[in-house]
Symmetry: C2
Subunit: 362 residues, 2 copies
């Protein structure tokens, strides 16, 4: 908690995936009983799995873990940028813990598990009459955040603390055997700081980076865009100071997700990115350590313009383009079986020799 955050050391610990395993995967792909290239993009995904696992064929994805970072955002209350009241964040945390949300359903369907981490939810669960495990609230750095259109979301110390929590959680998950990590998110108002971060780091005007979030009307969109414009003005001098930027115009959920993404890369663990919140954090993480990008795939293309812009900047072509805009990790989970299918074909298909099938006449 107390020693200074050493980003240079973290950056140094992030390497690149295994090029030899990638090459071995390509050689194996060419021998499988199918025309070369006939599995389309599945083939490319299978090679990526080889490279991040350092293994050919790739191992099954047996322990996929969604870590859902929840937090409230002051700007949602002061500037009313969301279609939903801020109380929904805590209510949804309880819904996640009860297993009733979309992320729970999709995780169950894919044999994945969900961990909920409350970084800054604006609630006292006891007052709500709910018993929430200590594990969920252990890393909370504060309740809600400052309204980023006029004040810092967090102090620098809080931003560091949240970032460090994300790093530690990545370590915990990898130590527990996770072979693929998915950053989830929940927070009424969270698309506002996400749009600010993407607008600043991609150099995009507020009006072009603000979307409809949970489904806001025109008046709310105008308030949201004004808030994003004001926050971008506040954040612009901090573009070279990523932790300062997360403190000024981010939030504890975004800072933790950024740390989580870098922690996963440092531990050579692949990540499927989700919606606009995780992609905004990915942009910040990429700015801190550009090699981290090699450990990520994009699960989904969201309808949020900021998510699309972030993916474009990161040169990530999402697995699924399906009009999703829920977050929580759901976009990554919808894409997960396609990634798993890619791995299975490379691992389990017979080769021409094994099957006694004639290869093309060459």
């Amino acid at each position: 908690m107390t020693d200074a955050l050493d980003l240079a050391d973290l950056v140094e610990r992030i390497g690149l995936p295994d090029a030899d395993a990638h090459a071995a995967g390509a050689a194996r792909q060419a021998r499988l009983t199918k025309p070369a290239g006939a599995l389309g993009r599945l083939e490319e995904l299978s090679l990526w799995l080889c490279s991040v696992q350092g293994a050919c064929p790739p191992r099954p994805l047996d322990r996929v873990r969604v870590v859902l970072f929840a937090g409230d955002h002051g700007v949602a209350r002061t500037a009313a940028t969301s279609a939903y009241p801020p109380e929904v964040t805590a209510q949804m945390v309880l819904n996640f813990l009860a297993g009733g949300a979309a992320v729970n359903v999709l995780a169950r369907q894919n044999g994945a598990s969900v961990r909920v981490v409350d970084m800054a939810v604006d609630a006292d669960y006891a007052e709500l009459g709910a018993a929430v495990p200590d594990d969920v609230t252990r890393y909370r750095v504060r309740r809600s955040s400052g309204s980023i259109d006029r004040e810092d979301a967090l102090t620098r110390e809080q931003a560091e603390e949240a970032f460090r929590a994300g790093l530690r959680i990545a370590d915990e998950e990898v130590d527990s055997g996770a072979d693929l990590l998915i950053p989830g998110d929940m927070g009424i108002g969270s698309t506002t700081p996400s749009a600010v971060l993407v607008g600043l780091l991609c150099g995009i005007d507020p009006a072009r980076v603000v979307g409809r979030g949970t489904g806001i009307d025109d008046d709310t969109w105008m308030r949201k865009t004004a808030a994003v414009r004001d926050a971008m003005r506040r954040g612009r001098p901090l573009k070279g100071d990523s932790i300062g930027l997360l403190a000024a115009v981010g939030g504890a959920d975004l800072a933790a997700t950024t740390g989580f993404l870098l922690g996963a890369a440092a531990r050579r663990t692949p990540v499927l990115l989700d919606g606009v919140v995780s992609c905004a954090a990915a942009l910040v993480a990429h700015r801190i350590a550009f090699r981290s990008r090699a450990w990520w795939l994009a699960g989904t293309r969201s309808t949020e313009p900021a998510q699309r812009a972030a993916l474009e900047r990161l040169d990530l072509d999402p697995i699924v383009d399906y009009g999703l805009r829920l977050g929580e990790g759901t976009g990554a989970l919808v894409a997960l079986p396609i990634l798993a299918a890619a791995g299975s074909t490379l691992r389990e298909m017979a080769t021409f020799d094994e099957a006694g099938v004639s290869d093309r006449e060459s």
Copy 2:
């Protein structure tokens, strides 16, 4: 085998999916703990599942069955339209039975099973030293087919027999409890008759409907296009006689798949279409009974131009656009978990009331 094929009776037995279940699905979607529309196209898929099952929420897809129709095509030998030798069809049948092909891997991954039906493979398995179960060869109507650029693929009797086999197999599968059917295909040369059928039924020139199949070079593409042009000329007078068309320029695998698709629709059983072969058969089936279309979704967009044209004509927007061009049922199987995810969210997610989550301020 002997009584005349009564298409009018078949057409009459094909009804439309359940509009009430669709409406009940839409009402339930609106109460789930997420912003309306946030699950994008998954929401639309979930309503389709309600309508074809006549149930809200939809049941899990517990018994998905791939029926893979295999057959050789004379045109591949006489006009050399494929990159692979015709022997590969029989070799791949044995690979399917051994579980080593892409369709086997993807079926296992999705808990689906694969049935292989040899409609017209040009092989004597005993001569190849292979033991093939009677169940695989029971419906074979002949070995290979006439070269469609110059002669009929099948006699009318053979076409009827193959079509009827497809109908019967759909009945067998539904009687055995299948809740979703996937038509698979295997046959060196099969994209040639598929291109002919699509070219004729969509009114597209040969050069615009012929693709690279398994990966042919320019010379082979020119031979293939010439063969397609000649076959289209032969088939044009038969556009109003679907069985005659399948006999003249189709093949036993295509005729069986057409019967299979109509049989599934008559039994109110949903189908995920796959690549160009199943989509060409779907065009013919749609011409026989237009209501059949309501029971189908498209799994994938192939790189074959004929498949894209067929989907456009059928107004089917594929679930996955992934550059697949393998056939076998693989494109449908890659899309299957997304359809299953759609059903799971509608079935398992908590509603706002159940979870005590506030709905949007309206």
